[in-house]
Amino acid sequence: MDEDPVDALVATAPDGIDFDGLSVEAGEDGYAFETPDEAASGLDEAALRDAAAADPYVENWYFWHAVAPQTDARWAFLRWLEGAEELAVPERYDALADGLATEWGQLQITVSLHDAGRRYDLRHVDDSETPAADLAAHEDPLDARDLAKHDDDGDYRPLKTAPSLQTGWQFPDLAAADLVEAVHTLYPATVQNWHREREGELDVDHWHETVSRQTGIYGVVRTWDRGEGYEHVNWVAEACCDDSQCLKRREWQYDEETELDVDGGDGTFPCREPCSLVVAAARQWTKLEGEQAQTYEFELTPSEKEQVEAIIDAVADGRADGIREADVYDGANRYRTRFLRAKLFDDEGNLAGVETDD
């Protein structure tokens, strides 16, 4: 890694190089060195060194072959971050001098080119304008494990790709390999699955396959999946997989032939099968949905009916905590809700005094 790019180029030249506009060929009369900006042939090693010295095409070739991680997914991700397949080296290097920023879920990744080569800045996208002095700086990509664990309120995040990543931190100066590690730690396997999808090789396991392989306490979910419709799976996807709940783009459907009716979302990286949270929730819904509907009679004023709806909406949208203390005009306001409980619940907590039938 500490090798000089020109030394590396000279060592590789006998095998030939053809990369991002740089071409080096070994012929009987010496080396041919060519970029869109210059061309020379019949070069001996010393002349090849002169031609290659301080050439951005050579530096670019060196980075992508000796510095960047070489496995397909990591390499492709880093290339994508700087638009390497679209931008020629001079334009790209101009852009990198200013810093090229890309979003990945709630992350903002900025690649820039310094004397030390390409460096990567990683932070929450909401902190894109936050001065570095106001952000906690990290160096070790494994620090991201702690950042991923809790949201800004200190609540545990069981789902890494939930749109609740905490703010206030920064990795200001990551090398290429460490950048990919940090991204992996915050959003595990997203780079690999994104790459597989780009290559047309994403291995999607649909709902039916995923449920069918469950055993143990999750085996019960198979009984909810009777092959006679998929409305229940629409509800699951609407509940759990909406962009407001998870930043992955749901690519799994009911089965290979049956697409779900709800939107899979707009995420950059795909979701290839129902995750463990979906399966665990589905286990609970399997039990609950096994119950028969009953008829209950309640008397509610029109406003009370709407208030019940407002409370359900507020909880489902994660809005309940944000309703202002004195905003008694919002049906899900705490005072409004406590009033409803005081008026309608009996001492056992039964709505309108109506007992629950088992």
């Binding site: 991680p69 496995t71 997914a73 990591r74 494994l142 494990r145 664990k149 809790h150 545990y156 069981p158 789902l159 890494k160 790709t161 992996h184 595990p188 396997a189 690999q192 699955n193 597989r196 291995d203 392989r213 055993t215 143990g216 290839r272 099968e273 995750c275 463990s276 949270l277 665990a280």
Partner: protein
């Protein structure tokens, strides 16, 4: 050829600290440099078992379950979720505590996976239990005048659960280090609730064979043993119960020497990690591995 280590642990949707021992042992092993990559993977967290291998660059992977007993998770869930399609429990040929290794190919990535038995049934786990007793008493010579209770979950779902507890209790008893050694359980006899009934020693170290601290080790067992009325009040170490001093150790899986067991599993599967084992045993106060 580069060798990678993947640790497979349970994780939790509810408890943020469930993954902490896994991260900690992975970090210890990373620091030895024995593997080109060390990856944590989880059943209830991410990276999930399903997608862990695709994040590993090495072609050769040592997969070590950070689980206590052999059974449902090690024989069904992990091989299925890692897509080790050739897996058959017969490949371990285990009697419930003697799993070793099976070398398989992962169906989705083509990697060679050396699928190891769980940490909990490896012989060196006995050393970790003893080390846990040393840690909680802050006495490297602890043994004489002390009883040791090894506590397990019991047979709720898996008969091998009790086997692993009894296996280590028997091995530690054979060391003649403690005056008494007993295997106790949460939901079968002999029950941990009656811990003081089973010991004559005034001092008893209680080591739960669990990977992470959580509901069982921090709420259930302390209350059941009478260390406290309510777990939120906490308890002393030691805490006096029925005239005995109970030294409650918390989950054995949090002991730093657990990293050694992970390495031992990989070593038994053919990984070149002997220097790393010596380093970890030295750092965690266990001294050199004896005889092997």
């Amino acid at each position: 050829m580069e060798q990678a280590l993947v640790i497979a642990a349970h994780g939790s949707h509810l408890n943020a600290e469930s993954s902490t021992p896994t991260f900690s042992h992975a970090d210890t092993i990373r620091a030895t440099g024995a593997f080109s990559e060390v990856r944590e993977s989880f059943w209830k967290e991410e990276p999930h078992f399903r997608e862990a291998l695709r994040t590993v660059d090495a072609d050769e992977v040592y997969l070590v379950p950070l689980f206590i007993s052999e059974g449902y998770f090690t024989e069904q869930v992990i091989p299925r979720e890692f897509r080790l399609d050739e897996w058959d429990p017969e490949l371990w040929g285990s009697d419930g505590t003697s799993a070793d290794v099976a070398t398989l190919t992962a169906d989705d990535t083509g990697q060679t996976v050396h699928y190891c038995g769980p940490v909990g049934t490896h012989d060196s786990m006995s050393d970790v239990i003893v080390q846990r007793a040393k840690s909680v008493t802050d006495d490297p010579d602890v043994g004489e005048g002390f009883g040791l209770a090894v506590v397990g979950h019991g047979t709720e779902r898996n008969e091998n659960s009790a086997k692993a507890i009894e296996y280590h209790a028997d091995r530690i008893a054979e060391m003649d280090r403690f005056d008494e050694v007993k295997a106790l359980f949460m939901d079968e006899d002999p029950e941990v609730d009656d811990v003081t009934d089973f010991f004559e020693s005034d001092d008893v170290v209680v080591v739960p064979l669990f990977i992470a601290d959580g509901y069982h080790t921090q709420e259930d067992i302390p209350e059941d043993m009478g260390l406290c009325e309510d777990y939120r009040d906490g308890w002393g170490v030691p805490e006096t119960v029925d005239g005995h001093d109970i030294w409650y150790a918390g989950a054995v899986g949090t002991e730093p020497l657990m990293a050694d067991v992970v390495l031992e599993r990989a070593a038994d599967a053919g990984a070149d990690v002997r220097a790393a084992i010596e380093q970890v045993r030295g750092e965690s106060g266990a001294g050199s591995a004896a005889g092997d």
